[in-house]
Structures are given as C-alpha cells and as structure tokens.
C-alpha cells in the first residue's frame, strides 16, 4: 500500500529525514514514533504530496508521488497537526465544502456527509461554528475531513496531541474501526505507549533515521529480551575489573558505572542466560552484594534509543 524508498529531506540547516525506507501492507495500522524534531511531520508531508523530497521515492498503491500526485491525493486522507481557519462556517458547511472540493458528485454528497458525521459523532453539532469547537471536536472534524473521500491510506500526524484521556480512548476506537474497514493507517506520536495497543506495525525514527521497524509483537518480543541489570559490589576498587569482565561478554551493552560501587548494563539475551552470568561473577571473585535484573518496557527501550532528546 505504501512504499518508501531511501526518502531524504534536507532543509537549509538540517537533514530532517535521512534515508528512510519501509513498506506498509493494506489494512494495517502502523505507529510512527520519534521524539520531537525526529522528522515525523516532514516525512508525512512528503508522503501526502505536500512537499518534495530531496532524494528518494514514495509509492502509494504502486503510484509514485512524483508522477501521480493528483491521483494520490484522491486516495489518501491526511490529518495534519494543524486545522486551518474557517471563520463563519458551520460543521455541516465545512464538510459540504470539502465534499465539493473532492468532487464527490452532488447525488451522493449528502449521504457521504451523513455517514461521516455519524461515524465521527459530529451529527450533534452540525450547526455549530467550526471556530468555536473544542479541541476534541476539532480533531473529530479534522478526521472527518480526511475521511470524506473514503481514502485507502490515512495519514495522521499526532492525532492524540492535546486530547484528554477519554477523547484519546475514543480516537483509538475510531482508528481501530477504520482499520477493520480495510484502510491502511499511518499514525504518528512522540509517545510510544499511546500507540502500543492498537498498532500492528511500528516504525521508530530518531534524527531522521530509522531506528526500528516491524511487527509490533516481534519488536516487543525482541525488546523483552532486553534487561537492565544493576550490580553492586562491596569492594569499590573491583569495579574496573568488573567492567572489563562485562565488556568481554556477548549480549552486553551500554555499561555505566554509578556511585563508584555499582554498575548498570543492558543485557539482551534470553532470561535463562542470566544465572550463568551471576555465577561466573562470583567465581571470578567479585564481591557481589546486589544483583538486580529488570525487564525493560517498550517505553524504556524507546527512551534509551532516543536518549537525551527529551
């Protein structure tokens, strides 16, 4: 459905997207996660044909955005992180306007607008002024607009930003329903857990580069193999020796010394491999008084990957 090939975008001072490649299958929800300034909006705008890439190719339904932008605009829905301004326009007029803009024939326009209003729950406020809507209602309207052409690919840029918990739950429900209708959904957020439950795939980027991409369960599983282990020694001088010992082991990374007598490291192997390590440490004569393995959550891994960005 969506194929991105070596996508790169340069701005005068930064490379906002750096050689990004991935592919989305039809009917799946893909979460697009990265810290602020990672390049999510930039990448999404290029996919939505609003900006030109510096390098790289993007295909939606096997059509290149460079060659068939107008065809692609008709089959995607994009929900940007801004709304635009519409003074003196009611919700109904707003949808009517976009239905005309998408050239939905006048015979089916009315039905389509009704469908959208029912789906997004806008029917109760059809006559309200767009400018006076609450954030949650605006986001629904924004979604309604993006859905009016019945898109196959829906791109949403931080749809949950600024919503209260209840509205978030409702939004997730709507997204799930859309995916069940067979739409492919590409949704960004800078909070991983917000998307964890509803996504099928996940794409993590940082500083424009792809950090991880794949099925959410597999990524989670591979992440479950990651432990953060902290070891405390009775005799502080031994700490350098322990560090050297750890550095020689496979599957150990990110070793940090804390308070002169503790060491923290990341261990990415099966849980069954932990006892042997412990045994070996004591047999080598290290005075271990504390050994604390902790399973990392996805959020922890994400923060670790994008460390220092928050």
């Amino acid at each position: 459905m969506l194929k991105v090939d070596n996508l790169t975008k340069d701005f005068p001072k930064v490379r906002a997207v750096d050689n990004l490649s991935f592919e989305l299958q039809k009917g799946r929800i893909c979460g697009f996660v990265g810290p602020n300034g990672a390049g999510k909006t930039t990448a999404m705008r290029i996919i939505a044909t609003l900006d030109d890439p510096t390098f790289g190719k993007v295909y939606v339904s096997d059509k290149s955005i460079a060659e068939r932008p107008y065809d692609i605009r008709r089959i995607i829905g994009f929900m940007p992180d801004h709304y635009g301004v519409y003074p003196d326009l009611s919700v109904l007029d707003y949808l009517e306007f976009y239905a005309r803009a998408y050239e939905i024939p006048s015979s089916s326009r009315k039905r389509r607008i009704e469908q959208i209003m029912n789906f997004t729950g806008l029917d109760k406020i059809a006559e309200k002024d767009v400018e006076t809507l609450s954030k949650g209602m605006r986001q629904r309207l924004n979604l309604g607009r993006a859905l009016i052409n019945d898109p196959q690919l829906l791109i949403m840029d931080e749809p949950a930003a600024g919503l209260d918990p209840r509205a978030r739950v409702e939004l997730r429900y709507l997204i799930k329903q859309l995916a069940e209708q067979g739409k492919t959904i590409f949704v960004s957020s800078h909070i991983l857990t917000e998307l964890g439950e509803i996504c099928d795939d996940i794409l993590i980027i940082d500083k424009g580069k792809k950090v991880a991409f794949g099925d959410v369960n597999e990524i989670q599983k591979s992440m479950q193999k990651t432990f953060e282990i902290s070891v405390k020694l009775l005799e502080a001088p031994q700490i350098q020796g322990l560090e050297r010992f750890l550095m020689e082991r496979p599957g150990i990374s990110n070793i940090r010394i804390k308070n002169h007598d503790s060491i923290i490291f990341t261990f990415s192997k099966d849980i069954a491999e932990i006892p042997p390590i412990m045994r070996e440490m004591t047999s080598q004569g290290f005075s271990v008084i504390e050994f604390k393995p902790q399973m990392m959550t996805m959020e922890d891994v994400f923060i670790q990957i994008t460390e220092g960005e928050f």
């Binding site: 900006d51 390098f55 460079a66 801004h82 301004v85 519409y86 003196d88 326009l89 976009y98 803009a101």
Partner: protein, 503 residues
C-alpha cells in the same frame, strides 16, 4: 474554457459565499448601504440647490457609497484569504486535489459576486439620479461598466497581496499598502466625477463613438482589451503560483503571459509610433521602455531567485507534455535555466526594438540619445539581478533558502535606492554640496546600486552622467549578462547530483 457546472460546483466559491452570508459585518454593511442610498435619494437630493446639477450630485454620492462597499468587500476578502494562507489552510484545499486555478477562480468569483450584489443594489439608485437631470444615460452606463471592469483586476490584486506573505508582520505592511493604493484610487475616482468636463464625459463620448462603430475608437478599445485580459490572466496565475510555490507552480503560464504582454506592448507601440507619435516628444520612449524594465524585474523577482529545478509535479508535467504544450515547455522552460533564457530573449527583442526606432530616427528631428537612454534601462536589468543577489545563489545554504534571498534582494533594491535618492535630494537642495565630487559619487552609486535609484537619476538632466548614462548602463548590462551566465553554470554544478535520484 470554464463550464457553468464547474462554477456552480466550485467548492471555494461555495465556501466563501457561505462565509460571506454568515458574516455579521456584511449584514450590517449591507443594511447601512441600502439605508444610506435610500435616505440620500429621498431626503437629501430633492432639497439641495442647483436643479441642473442634482443628478450629478446624487450620482457622485451613490458612486462613493458603491466605492466604499467595494473597499469593504476587498478588505474582508483580504482578511479571510491572508488568514487562510498564513494558517496553511490552503494546504488542506490542495490535498483535496482541487487545482490552484479553481481555488483562485472560486475566490475571485466570490468577491465579484459580493461586489455585484452591492452594485445591483446601488445601480437602480444611479438611474434614479438620471431622472433628476444633469446626466446622460450613457455616462451612467459607461461609469457603471467601468466599475465592473476595474473590479476584476482590483480583486485579483487584493488576492495576490493576501497570498504574498505567510508572516503576519508583512501582512500588516501589505494591508497598509492596500489601504494607501485604494485611497489613492478613490481620490482618482472622485476627481473623475467632480471635476467639470471630467473624463467621465470623455468616457461617454468614447462609448458614443464606439456605438457608431468609429474605427479609431474600436481600435483603442481592442488595444485596451488585449492588455486588460493579459493583465488579468497574469494576476490570476501569479495568485495561483503564490498558493503553492514549493511543490507546484504556474511558472510556465506566468512566463508565457509576461512574454506575450511584453511582445504586444512593444508591437502596439511600434504600430502607434508609426502613425501618431513620430515627431512628438521623444521622452515617450521612457513610457515604452520603463514598463519593459518593470516586466523584466517582475520576471526576475518571481523566478530568478528561485530553486534551480522546478518542483516534481512540474517536471513530470513537462515530461508528459506533447505537441504544442511540449513546445511551450521548451520555450518557457520552468526553473532557473529557463528564466535566464527568457530574460536574454526579452533583452534581445528589446535591443531589436531600440535598433528599429533608432533607424527610424535618422529621418526624425529628435535627439536619438533619448531613445538609447530609455532603452538602456532594460539592458541594465541583468546587472541588478546578478549583483549582488545572484552571486549569493552560488552559496548552497543560501540557495536553499531562496525565500529569504528574495526578500533580502528586494529589500536591498528598495532601501538602498530610497536611501540614495534621499541623500542626493539633500545634497541638491543645499548649494554647498551641489556638483561636488561627493555628489557625483552618490549619483554614480545611484546608477549602479539599485534599480530604483537608477530610474530616478536617469531623469536628472543636470547630472553629469545624464549624457553618458546609457553607455554606463549598457556596459553594466553586458557585465551583468556575463555574471548571469557564470552564476547559472555554478548553480547547475551545485544541483547536478540532485535530479536523477528523485524521479
């Protein structure tokens, strides 16, 4: 051409009209407009003095009311569109697949509908003025027709201004500018009406001669419409171009229109010159070549300080174009290379036109230097484009931020030009500095630094550079062309590896 269905289904028209109807300002305005006109026609007009002039007075008042209405519509349109543009709402319109032309057409039609609405409310009162006497039917008809005629470019210009900046501050400057222009136009309109034997009666005479199929009048009307239509289309496409300058453009259309405008301007002048102007004051040439100078600058400001390659959409359209379109793309190639080429073509044609007149001069009685003087302005354009702005384009980081570049260059032209003009003015007004070496230096700088001051100093007959000004300008122009070619080469090199990787 535009089909009626396309207009009735135009989403932008629907939206803007809906917003207009729901707008409370409009409602208040409309009611006061009707009450005003009604009150004037029933109370004021019958009791005021001179019976013969009654109709004229009433008519002027209605015209003023209509003019105010026109301005308010323009202001409301500017407000809405500039807000939409600054808040990236146009992006959402683009996403729907609505073409840029349709957006601008919808906006224009909506403004015209609003104008015509007020117009048809007022026009009955104007004809009521006719019954009061002092006016003939054709004057009223002519004046009302002219108002409709001028409302199209006026509203296009307003749209252009509202789309020209994403920043609120520049938007404010734009608003002030619009205000000044409109007030100025208003005064022009008022003087048109109030001055006895005003051009209005000229208009009515003109319409009368049109109705009798007078050949001269028909010719003038034809020439007027040639320029009128081209100018409207040019404004229209510049508006389209402004909506989306990074991922789409209307460069081809604008270049084509600028070129045809340029050609028809020179041709019309040549035709007129043969009959009417020969032997009259040769400064008429300034009238001919200064618009050409402005057209060259417009082309430069729009497309010279621009991304080297046109956007993807345009490149693909160019690739897929067949037949005549392909030929047009070839001739008015979008992108920096095409702009260079077009500027050079236009300069060549201008030079030919100057040469043509120069040959004609041998038999005339005027000083041919005035012709060279006027023509050389155009030749100097490449120099102003290349130095210093064009040279900056050779730096990669500056080239990528070409919006900043454009703003900087235009600011430089205006500020340095105005500054030099003020300094020169002060020096001239104090006897001590006049003709001093320093004053000469200022004059020389005015000649070479800014296109604004060079125009100004060119009119200064006392300047020591007046006699040889055209030589200096010509020399600078040739240097400018050399620079432009060098800059083009350099930019092409900088952008060499970019293109193949995308399409």
């Amino acid at each position: 051409m535009i089909k009626p269905r396309e207009i009735s289904e135009n989403a932008m028209l629907f939206k803007d009209i809906t917003q207009w109807i729901r707008n409370k300002t409009f409602l208040a305005l409309f009611l006061s407009l009707l009450f005003g006109a009604g009150a004037i026609s029933f109370f004021f007009v019958p009791v005021s003095g001179d019976a013969a002039q009654l109709g004229v007075i009433a008519f002027s008042i209605f015209t003023i009311i209509l003019f105010i209405y026109t301005l308010v519509i323009a202001g409301m349109g500017f407000n809405l569109t500039s807000r939409e543009f600054a808040n990236k709402t146009f992006e959402l319109y683009e996403l729907s697949g609505m073409s840029l032309e349709r957006m601008i057409l919808g906006k224009l039609l909506s403004l015209l509908t609003q104008f015509l609405f007020g117009y048809f409310c007022i026009v009955p009162f104007m004809f009521f003025a006719y019954f009061l006497g002092g006016l003939d039917f054709i004057s009223i008809f002519g004046a009302s027709f002219l108002m409709i005629l001028f409302s199209v470019p006026l509203y296009l210009f307003i749209l252009l201004l509202s789309l020209s900046s994403k920043s609120v501050k520049i938007g404010l400057i734009g608003r002030i500018f619009v205000g000044i222009v409109l007030l100025y136009m208003g005064f022009g309109l008022l003087s048109l009406i109030f001055i006895p034997r005003s051009p209005l009666s000229g208009v009515s005479d003109f319409i009368k001669s049109l109705l009798t199929f007078d050949l001269e009048a028909l010719k003038i009307a034809l020439v007027f419409f040639i320029f009128y239509i081209q100018l409207c289309f040019l404004l229209f496409y510049i508006c389209c171009n402004f909506i989306s300058s990074t991922n789409d453009s209307r460069e081809l259309q604008i270049k084509l229109l600028l070129f045809t405008l340029f050609l028809s301007w020179l041709l019309v002048f040549h035709a007129l010159y043969r009959n009417a102007i020969r032997g009259s004051d040769a400064e008429i040439f300034l009238l001919v070549y200064i618009p050409v100078y402005l057209m060259l600058f417009l082309l430069g400001a729009l497309f010279y300080y621009h991304a080297f390659h046109p956007p993807l959409i345009i490149r693909n359209r160019q690739k897929e174009a067949r037949g005549f379109r392909r030929f047009l793309y070839h001739l008015f190639l979008p992108g920096a290379r095409g702009t260079h080429r077009l500027i050079l073509y236009m300069l060549l044609i201008t030079a030919l036109s100057v040469f043509f007149h120069y040959v004609g001069f041998k038999t005339g009685k005027n000083d041919p230097r005035l012709l060279l003087h006027a023509g050389s302005y155009c030749l100097q354009v490449p120099f102003f484009l290349a130095v210093p702005g064009g040279l900056f384009l050779c730096i990669r980081s500056l080239q990528n931020s070409n919006k900043t570049m454009k703003a900087l260059v235009i600011t430089w032209w205006v500020l340095s030009g105005v500054f030099l003009m003020i300094v020169y003015g002060i020096m001239e007004s104090s006897g001590y500095w006049r003709d001093s070496p320093l004053s000469n230096l200022v004059q020389f700088l005015s000649l070479v630094l800014s296109p604004v001051s060079t125009l100004f100093i060119g009119f200064e007959r006392r300047s020591p550079f007046h006699e040889i000004g055209y030589l200096i300008r010509g020399g600078l122009g040739l240097t400018g062309i050399v620079f432009m070619i060098w800059i083009l080469r350099r930019r092409r090199k900088l952008n060499e590896n970019l293109l193949d990787s995308i399409v």
